[in-house]
């Protein structure tokens, strides 16, 4: 069959809202886009363990510590679901990790910001995981089956992440004046980076249209960002905290909040590698991988020894 006909069949399947499965024919561009997006998504989950992992030993109570441990474990799990889904497209996991470690594949810019107080852990759960859920829920209906199934699993687990963050934020917001200041300070620092998580404005996002046609993307960056602002502002009001945007106002006519311009030069800088923690995050990841090499080698040696013993006994 010639390429054009295959492509027609492929697009017809997507237009009929059917899923594409690993061994189906697919355009090379579709495969490449998915590998890049899923790898970046997996890397974000893995790097995302660091900002919060930073607070495990200093969580304010045993309850918070157990919750934070479970959450960081989940992030590791989410990374593994996504690497596993990416591998169905014929890429090798070691190759993906290598690309992360050498900076050839990216992860979300949000994880290049530091967690300087305990309130940052709360703010990450509430805002960063909140924004992630907004982005991820439509992906459960993504045209590529393995990605959609991985995202279903991720989304189920993610809602606990957001709730625990909001709960921790509530405790601080209703606490002493010092705790309230800490909560406000965290909101001040995480608000704009969270809005940037939805990516560039629609008019500056050239690949979006193709991703939409391929059923990888269901809603535009600006649509999802607007939805996030609309649901999050009332939550900030409940907490008695102020969203750090002087232009933020309720627009009766459209039924949406209007908000100020995002500072895209900051986004670009963090993307380039000049965020507050880029070097530290990557160095930590590479060190963890290298320091774990002996475990992988020992496991392989043990497996080989057992296999040899079983063969001898047979």
């Amino acid at each position: 069959m010639d390429e054009a006909l295959l492509e027609q069949e492929f697009q017809a399947r997507i237009d009929a809202d059917e899923r594409v499965e690993p061994r189906d024919w697919m355009p090379e561009g579709y495969r490449k886009t998915l590998v890049r997006q899923m790898a970046q998504h997996a890397h974000s989950e893995i790097i995302g363990m660091q900002p919060e992992g930073n607070w495990i030993t200093r969580a304010p109570s045993l309850r918070r510590k157990a919750i934070l441990l479970a959450k960081v474990q989940d992030e590791a799990g989410h990374g593994l679901y996504l690497y596993s889904a990416a591998e169905t497209l014929g890429v090798d996991r070691d190759e993906l990790l290598d690309k992360l470690h050498t900076g050839r594949q990216k992860y979300s810019t949000i994880f290049n910001y530091p967690t300087v107080t305990w309130a940052d852990v709360a703010a990450i759960g509430w805002l960063v995981d909140g924004a992630a859920i907004m982005n991820q829920v439509p992906l459960t209906r993504c045209s590529y089956g393995p990605y959609a199934r991985a995202m279903t699993r991720v989304c189920k687990e993610e809602s606990f992440h957001q709730r625990q963050g909001f709960e921790a934020m509530t405790v601080l917001a209703q606490g002493t004046p010092a705790q309230r200041r800490m909560a406000q300070d965290a909101l001040d620092r995480w608000w704009w980076p969270s809005l940037m998580m939805f990516g560039p404005n629609d008019d500056a996002s050239p690949n979006s249209a193709q991703s939409m046609r391929w059923g990888i993307k269901r809603f535009s960056n600006d649509e999802l960002r607007q939805r996030f602002v609309d649901i999050t502002v009332p939550q900030a009001e409940f907490l008695g905290l102020t969203v750090p945007d002087p232009d933020l106002r309720w627009d009766e006519e459209s039924g949406h909040y209007r908000f100020g311009e995002i500072d895209w030069t900051e986004f670009q800088a963090v993307m380039r590698g000049d965020g507050p923690c880029n070097r530290q995050r990557l160095a930590r990841r590479v060190a963890a991988h290298e320091e774990g090499a002996w475990v992988r080698e020992a496991a392989a040696a043990y497996a080989a020894k057992r296999a040899a013993r079983e063969e001898a006994a047979a």
């Binding site: 596993s84 996991r93 992988r296 496991a299 497996a303």
Partner: protein
């Protein structure tokens, strides 16, 4: 040094069949089972796990999909809805 890939199947509770959950890398079956427990049953999603080496799975090819599944295509009489039940007849 890539470890082999394992497909993971989880029985969510007694009475149900094992269902494909995903895959993971592990040096041997023993480690694959332990990793599968940590990765796919962190919230009591399973009471039993199977792991199978991905390279041992034999699959039908999507290219031959039409020809392969064709034989069942023209046999609607295998479904009960094919048959007309006369009015007034019950328990059929």
């Amino acid at each position: 040094m890539t470890q082999p890939l394992w497909e993971v199947f989880v029985r969510s509770r007694r009475g149900l069949a094992h269902t494909h959950a995903g895959s993971l890398h592990a040096p041997d079956a023993h480690m694959a089972l332990r990793n599968a427990r940590d990765l796919y049953t962190r919230r009591q999603e399973g009471v039993s796990i199977w792991v199978v080496r991905a390279s041992d799975v034999v699959a039908s090819s999507p290219d031959e999909k039409d020809a392969f599944f064709d034989p069942a295509g023209d046999k609607p009489y295998r479904h009960p809805t094919f048959y007309e039940v006369p009015a007034g007849v019950e328990n059929l």
